[in-house]
Structures are given as C-alpha cells and as structure tokens.
Symmetry: C2
Subunit: 193 residues, 2 copies
DNA sequence: CTGTGCATGTAAGGAGTTACATGATTGC
DNA sequence: GCAATCATGTAACTCCTTACATGCACAG
C-alpha cells in the first residue's frame, strides 16, 4: 500500500483534502499559516520535492496549465491519495509529540550562564509568543462561520483553539520562570517588584 | 569560535555541566530521562558520533580506561567546552520551539477518516500522556532536596515543572477534543453521557 | 524601472535514523 | 546457560535545509 511516504507528504495530502486545487507555492503558504504550529514549515524546495513524489505515486494529480506566459501547476488529491491518507491515519500509531524547545533546553542548563542572559531569552520568547498568538488568532478567526460540528472547518478550529491555549500556557510558564529567576538563594533577599 | 556544532552537541555538553564524568551510554540514559521531553532522544549512534566531534574540537575530554577486560570511555567537559557552551547560550537567539505533533496533525484533517478512529487516537494519546507524566514526575521527585534558588537542580526542576504542566494541559486538551467529537451537527442530538 | 510577490526548480550538505556488528558483565 | 544490560561503534540512507538559479507579473 503506502510506499513509505514521509509524514510531511501526508500533511500535504491533508492540506489538499480541504477542496481546492493548490500550487506548490500556495501549499507552502497554507503550511506556513497553520501547519507550522504543530508540524513543520517545510522549505519551498521540499514542498516541490514532495509533490513530485506524490505525483509519481499517483496520490495527487498535477494540473499544468499556462497562465499568461508562465507555467503554473496545481495539484489535487486523487482517490488513491484519499485512500493512502486514510490508510496512514487509521493504520499507523500517532506517536508521542516531539518538542524541540530550545528555550527549555537552555533553561535546563541556565546555571552555565548569567541570569541576565536567561532573563533576556525568556523576554524574547514572550515576544515571539505574542506574535505567534496574533498569527494563530487570525487564522482561528478566519475559520469562524464553518467551525461547528459537521462543518468544514470543525477540526481546524479545534486544533487552532488547542494551539492558542498552548501558547497562552507557554506565556504563563515563561512568566513564572522569569519570576522564579528573580528569587535568590536562601541567604539573599527577594528583589523589589 | 564555535565551529558549527549541532544543537544536540550543546545539549550533550549541557548534560556534562552537572558535574559527573559520563560514558556515551550514560549520556544516552540521561537524555532519555530528561532531554527527550523538550529536545530529542538521540540515537546511541549519534551520541557517539557527537562525542567524537566534541572530543576532536577539544570541548570534552575523553577518559579511556579498562574496566575488567573491556574498554570504557567517560567524557568530561573541558574549559573550552564551558566557553563554547556559554558562547552558544549567549550568542545565538533561542528561536521558537518546533512542535512535531502527529496527534494534532491528524486531528486537523480528522474529516478524512471516521470519528471512531480519531477517538481511538485521542484515547491512545491520553494513555501515553499518563506514562510520560509518571516518568517526568519521577524525575522531578529525584531533584527534590536541591531544587531551591541557588541549588544545583534549580533549573532542571523549573523545567520539569514546566513540562509537567504542559502534559497536564495536553491531557485537558485531548479530553476536550474528545468531548467535542461527541457533539454532532446542528440537526443531531447530544449523545448520552 | 525597480522591488516585491508569484512560481518552480536543482545541488550540496547536514542532522539524525535504522540496521548491522561485536563483545563483556550481571542476574536468574 | 540465557537473557538483559552495559558499552561501543560503522554503514547506509532519509528528511530536510540552505544556497543557488530563473523568470513573469504587477505596483509604486
């Protein structure tokens, strides 16, 4: 059946189940909007590589047309693609999420540098979290109107809400860590608020 | 300065800042205990590869001895290693965490399969979360006694607590998603509890 | 007429994985 | 005696990234 497609391949296949025919460029944009929060933001070159593979396997159909004077290729999922996607979703265990959290990694060994640097890092992280929340909130808003049970964007909404909650929690954690950093050892005093 | 070491290299360097001389095997064990939750669980082969690189760069010192009749090599961080680690922590932006969350990815496109499968997946995830929480809670317990400000395991404790909260939140999210799945469309009725 | 966005690719390389291979030590 | 754990590595391969390369369309 499924000839060993990387997860990103299935993710692209998944993006194509929402109805539209998409170009590689558009797939990259959609991935940057939503997929990046809980999977990856694949490089353009990988999107094309993956589309090539999926086309060769017959899981997507390439629709090459000429627009003005340039070649544009859109892709649509095929019946075989739908079947492969289902086979993957039903047949392979989901597995535990992998978190590559450089902030936490650095916090773990924060004793190896000065507190000021760690504080700076957490501040920066808070800023990036704000931006991520703004971005994701906008995506979430765009799903309104079709986000109720049975509607087209039911699951994307569920996932977006999950993500928003996650980022909110991260913000809290970062703030708590920041507060914890300001506490000094048993002999020290708590610095003024 | 730092000759392009992968993050995992710095992670290993970080593990060696907690005092002990460790063998590759032991480093792998420690990584599996703690690092895996917010970075990765590197394969054994990669641990050795990385230790080789760090040794070549003079960032760790290999201490090869013969124990009984077999060769055992332990590694300790050198002064140069400490400097390189600090340079990395202070000099490179931490960057936003990357989450590879197959459960969320699958939930996003859950319309492509039957609700029963999605429910099953979320159940499985809840089980794995329980196990992860147990494991991490045990690690957290082992840090007690040296987890206050200024003490050796201050930061690891902070990070472990962060992780435990994260897993608790994930459990809540998964349960909420499960509850959301049981709601049917506007025309349907809410199934009995 | 220049920069930004749209659109598509190739090539090189790195990080990390699985599979394979080997052997000592310890506990049952 | 056998399995699990300790301990160390090599080889092949894959996913994915960065850098490079090209060219149209459109707005200011």
């Amino acid at each position: 059946m499924s000839q060993d497609i990387p997860v990103t391949g299935y993710a692209i296949l998944g993006l194509l189940t929402f109805g539209d025919e998409l170009t590689g460029y558009e797939i990259k944009q959609r991935a940057d909007m939503t997929l990046r929060f809980y999977w990856v933001s694949p490089a353009m070159s990988q999107v094309y590589t993956e589309l090539r593979r999926l086309t060769d396997l017959g899981l997507v159909a390439a629709d090459a047309r000429t627009e003005g004077s340039r070649e544009v290729t859109s892709y649509a999922i095929t019946a075989a693609g739908q079947a492969a996607l289902r086979g993957w979703m039903d047949g392979t265990p989901a597995g535990f999420p992998v978190l590559k959290h450089t902030v936490l990694l650095r916090l773990l060994i924060a004793h190896a540098t000065e507190p000021a640097h760690t504080r700076q890092m957490l501040h920066d992280y808070l800023g990036e979290l704000d931006r991520a929340i703004d971005d994701l909130a906008q995506v979430r808003e765009s799903l309104r109107g079709a986000d109720r049970p049975g509607e087209a964007f039911r699951f994307p909404s569920l996932v977006a809400d999950w993500g928003l909650d996650y980022f909110a929690a991260e913000t809290q954690h970062a703030k708590r860590a920041l507060a914890g950093l300001d506490e000094t050892g048993p002999e020290g005093t708590v610095p003024p608020a």
